[in-house]
């Protein structure tokens, strides 16, 4: 299966730089999610890989073939890039039946009739929509349409699957089903996948690697758990995780970290610079430890509100004029206005430079 390499790719729309000097190396058979808020350039990157958008600059390689290079004057049209794609609104042709929708690409490729029939049947079976071949698209539910869109992408056997927010139009339950379906598909077929989404849960559950994007640049390209544990900068840190993590302003004096709310935090020797006027420490809600009585290193806090969601309870507490978000198990029985003692989990605090927003030191 081919990998995909983007080298210094840029694209402007008018004066706005949608994608700004992006380089990415996507390995064979990898499942890469392009994650970011709307307008971050993730869809543009996908469309440039597909060949639906022409970059202003840079080079794109799929497998061994350079499909775009401004320098070499190369542009391979989408149909010859050996990629399949699912569009956000599926882009299923309403004037064709399910069968014809799936068969279209095979017909274009000049595949013989009986082989088309066989291949379409196989795709239908794979997506568990046998028996629907003579229906028109508007006679099918959203979930079934999604399955047709996937079958259409599979059937020509492309080396790369490109998916543009394919699940954003489905309701929560169907989304979970289809997520499982897509993950299974990747495991079975092992194709290189590029998946655009703004939903971090989707990215974390599906991808083998995630590229977080903002304002047309890659903020971090890493494996999901690394991304979650050690965000490279504050943007990634604040974008990942729900509810958002706690952001605490502080400073480093004589090698000691002092943050609002908690005061001085102990750090392993040598991990911090000797002095920094402005730093920001982040602490995820699940890494705030809660005690009923005072423990060494803990500080007093007063519960502001308690928000149970079912599998967990989100507690908001005021601690030295800072509001902390705390994730608790459903057994937690803290009450509003109760006094509790809180302390960061050892090794869960990341420290960022206030000016550049980049990571100084992980796991304090």
């Amino acid at each position: 299966m081919p990998g995909i390499v983007l080298k210094n790719v840029s694209k402007k729309f008018g004066k706005v730089a949608a994608v700004n000097n992006v380089s990415l190396e996507i390995g064979d058979g990898e499942f890469v999610a392009l994650l970011g808020p709307s307008g971050c350039g993730k869809t543009t990157i996908l469309r440039m890989i597909a060949g639906l958008e022409e970059p202003d600059d840079g080079e794109i390689t799929i497998g061994d073939e350079v499909v775009f290079s401004r320098r070499k004057g190369v542009f391979v049209p989408p149909g010859r890039r050996n990629v399949g794609m699912i569009f956000q609104n599926y882009a299923l042709w309403p004037h064709l039946t399910v069968f014809s929708n799936i068969a279209f690409g095979l017909e274009i490729a000049g595949v013989p009739k009986d082989e088309i029939r066989r291949k379409v049947q196989a795709a239908l079976e794979m997506m568990q929509i046998q028996g629907f071949e003579n229906r028109y698209i508007n006679e099918m539910s959203g979930g079934q349409q999604q399955r047709v869109a996937i079958a259409r992408m599979l059937v020509t056997g492309p080396g790369v699957f490109l998916m543009d927010e394919p699940l954003s139009n489905l309701d929560a339950k169907l989304r979970l089903d289809m997520r499982a379906e897509i993950k299974r598909l990747h495991a079975d077929l092992g194709r290189t996948c590029v998946y655009v989404t703004h939903d971090q849960v989707e990215a974390l559950t599906l991808a083998t690697k995630i590229a977080v994007l903002d304002k047309g640049t890659v903020q971090q390209f890493a494996e999901p758990m690394e991304l979650y544990r050690v965000p490279a900068n504050l943007f990634v840190a604040e974008f990942m995780g729900n509810p958002a993590l706690n952001v605490l302003h502080g400073s480093v004096r004589e090698g000691r970290l002092v943050v609002e709310g908690f005061g001085e935090l102990e750090a392993p020797a040598g991990t911090l610079p000797t002095a920094a006027a402005g730093v920001i420490a982040t602490l995820r809600p699940e890494d705030v430890l809660v005690y009923r009585t005072h423990e060494p290193g803990s500080v007093e806090a007063r519960v502001h509100s308690v928000l149970p969601t079912g599998p967990e309870v989100i507690v908001r507490a005021r601690c030295n004029r800072v509001t902390l978000t705390i994730r608790q198990s459903p057994e937690s029985d803290v009450k509003p206005d109760e006094v509790i003692y809180v302390k960061p989990r050892q090794g869960a605090v990341n420290v960022y430079d206030k000016r550049s927003n980049t990571l100084i030191c992980a796991c304090v």
């Binding site: 060949g51 004057g73 989408p78 149909g79 399949g84 794609m85 569009f87 279209f104 690409g105």
Partner: protein, 608 residues
């Protein structure tokens, strides 16, 4: 040496890149189509405008008649100063201008009053037979605007012009006064009876898109019905009302047929008829100055309208959800109102048609008695005693030829603009954020600003001699097709754009990813999907061209005459039964096509 070789390297890189750009351009169909469209549109729309201005600003060879010694082609302000301030400027420009303004203001106010009240009754009250009323009320708009004028002549023709008299004198015995038979009052009334249906369509559309919840919210705080109407409903539909007012005004400015039939017999001129007279007498530069003035007025009104529409977007609640609407109970007034509406429709819509049909069955004009009944003007053999020996229209090869010309012209134009509109739609939808897309969109809109008669005048001179690669088209069928196609382009482009935007980029892109060539994409995806939109646009253009007179009246030759221009010639010659029979034939053809459109649109709604 080094510098030189570096320079050479740079050159080869830039040349390679330039080649690459050319190749990419050719691989991007919407850009190629867009570039071709820009060139064609500039040539056919901007070109004529420039030619026209140039003509008014230079000496022409026909000027040698009264300005001997000038050399044609040199710059002069002579034409402008003559039209604006010269000895004849009062009759040439200012009087027709005042007439045009007076008529247009009168028509838009009257049409708005009638159309607005009718729309409110149909959409917002429990008036009986509302559906039937709205079906009847829109009929005039699909017919030529001068049909009512012809009917008016049948009724109010008086002695002063000579010839026989109308139904009014036949019944009352008294000759109707001149102000009632010809001139500003009948022109205004007849046009109002035509254009009210336009105001009706716009305002009823706006009224039915007002969410009843807005009114109910006012009711909750204790507002009375009158207060709701005045403070909620009326302000919400006000932009639609203003829009109807302005657009009616702009159309009335350019109208030609009615002032011809009801104005020329008493030498009453408006801008359009004065333009025509100047053109006929080969005062081309005068005609062009009038045409430019008309374009200016029209452009100003359209600009005002877009300003209003832009403001409107912010507060008319148009949405996909169905509105519940509560109807105002007319109560005790119901009987009277119903009677008034029925009376209006009978007199304003049906009577003109009945009178016209009646006229065609009268052997001797002006004798409305049953004994005068004849089918001569329909199926009679040539008889030197009647109609200057011409056969009835259904066996008159010249008139049947005209009918064929009308149909042929409408079909060809509808086909060409349908295809062009789809292409424009593709370019604009694909290049929505590019300069190219916007330029194409703006250019296709331009003919909308030019009154038909002015547009025809431009094309007459532009293509009456060989022009670049185009041979002289004077008197040919091609010039009619060309003129009608360009003039209808704004409408077909608009429907093409909305249809292509609806199809969306993704459906084509999905086929592109599957490896389909541009031709395959068009054949298998875009054309099937835009078929029904294409058909609807096709039929609408067909009807528009079938009833078109002012656009082509300057361009037809004896062999390319259409039904509309034949009507004009016959009525000019005083052969009213013949002219009216042709009009009835035309009206029948239009109503049949209109019925077909409704069927198509309905089946389209059902399938989607």
């Amino acid at each position: 040496m080094r510098a030189v070789s570096q320079g050479y390297q740079m050159d080869s890189v830039t040349r390679a890149y330039a080649l690459y750009r050319v190749r990419r351009f050719l691989q991007t169909p919407y850009k190629v189509a867009g570039a071709v469209l820009i060139i064609l549109l500039a040539y056919f729309i901007i070109g004529p405008l420039v030619t026209m201005m140039q003509t008014t600003l230079t000496w022409q060879s026909e000027d040698l008649r009264y300005a001997p010694g000038v050399s044609p082609g040199t710059l002069t302000l002579f034409h402008w100063s003559r039209v604006l301030f010269g000895r004849t400027s009062a009759s040439m420009l200012w009087k027709p201008l005042m007439n045009t303004m007076a008529i247009s203001v009168g028509v838009s106010v009257l049409a708005l009053a009638i159309g607005g009240v009718l729309a409110w009754l149909v959409v917002r009250t429990d008036l009986p037979f509302r559906h039937l009323v709205s079906e009847l009320a829109v009929i005039p708009y699909s017919l030529p605007s001068w049909v009512i004028a012809l009917a008016w002549i049948v009724v109010f023709k008086n002695r002063q012009i000579g010839g026989v008299t109308g139904l009014f004198e036949y019944i009352t015995g008294a000759s109707p006064p001149n102000w009632l038979s010809y001139g500003i009052i009948p022109i205004t009334l007849c046009l109002a009876l035509h254009y009210y249906s336009f105001a009706f369509t716009l305002i009823s559309g706006a009224l039915s898109s007002v969410d009843a919840e807005l009114e109910e919210a006012a009711e909750m705080v204790g507002a009375t019905r009158a207060q709701i109407l005045r403070k909620i409903t009326f302000p919400i539909v006000l932009p639609a009302i203003l829009s109807a007012l302005i657009l009616t005004f702009s159309r009335a400015v350019g109208t030609f047929g009615t002032p011809v039939f009801l104005g020329l017999p008493v030498r009453f001129y408006v801008l359009s008829t004065m333009l025509y007279a100047n053109m006929e007498n080969r005062f081309v530069s005068n005609a062009y100055i009038l045409a430019l003035l008309m374009i200016l007025i029209s452009a100003a009104t359209v600009y005002a309208n877009t300003r209003i529409i832009r403001a409107r977007r912010s507060f008319v609640t148009l949405g996909g959800r169905g509105f519940r609407r509560r109807l105002v109970k007319l109560g005790r007034l119901k009987g009277i109102v119903t009677l008034l509406v029925a009376g209006f429709l009978a007199v304003g819509v049906l009577l003109p048609l009945v009178v016209l049909v009646w006229q065609t069955f009268m052997l001797i004009e002006g004798d409305f008695s049953p004994s005068n009944f004849t089918l001569h003007y329909w199926i009679g053999l040539p008889n030197p005693r009647f109609a200057e020996g011409e056969a009835g229209i259904l066996r008159n090869p010249m008139i049947l030829g005209g009918a064929w010309n009308s149909i042929r012209l409408a079909l060809t134009t509808a086909l060409i603009t349908g295809v062009a509109g789809t292409l424009v739609g593709y370019v604009v939808a694909k290049g929505r954020h590019t300069l190219l897309g916007r330029a194409v969109e703006q250019l296709t809109f331009l003919p909308f600003l030019m009154p038909s008669i002015a547009f025809g005048a431009i094309y007459l001179t532009m293509f009456s001699r060989p022009h670049w690669i185009i041979p002289s088209l004077y008197g040919t069928f091609s010039i009619l097709v060309l003129t009608c196609s360009i003039k209808s382009l704004p409408y077909s482009a608009r429907s093409g754009i909305s249809s292509m935007l609806q199809i969306g980029g993704e459906l084509e892109e999905a086929a592109e990813v599957a490896g389909a060539s541009w031709f395959t994409r068009f054949r298998r995806i875009l054309i099937p999907l835009s078929k029904s939109g294409f058909l609807a646009g096709f039929l609408l253009t067909f009807i528009t061209i079938m009833r078109e007179m002012s656009l082509i009246v300057l361009l037809v030759s004896p062999s390319t005459r259409t039904l509309t221009t034949m009507t004009y010639r016959y009525n000019e010659q005083g052969l009213n039964q013949m002219g009216d029979a042709i009009t009835v034939l035309l009206v029948t053809l239009i109503l049949i096509s209109n019925f077909a459109i409704k069927r198509v649109l309905r089946s389209r709604e059902e399938t989607s």
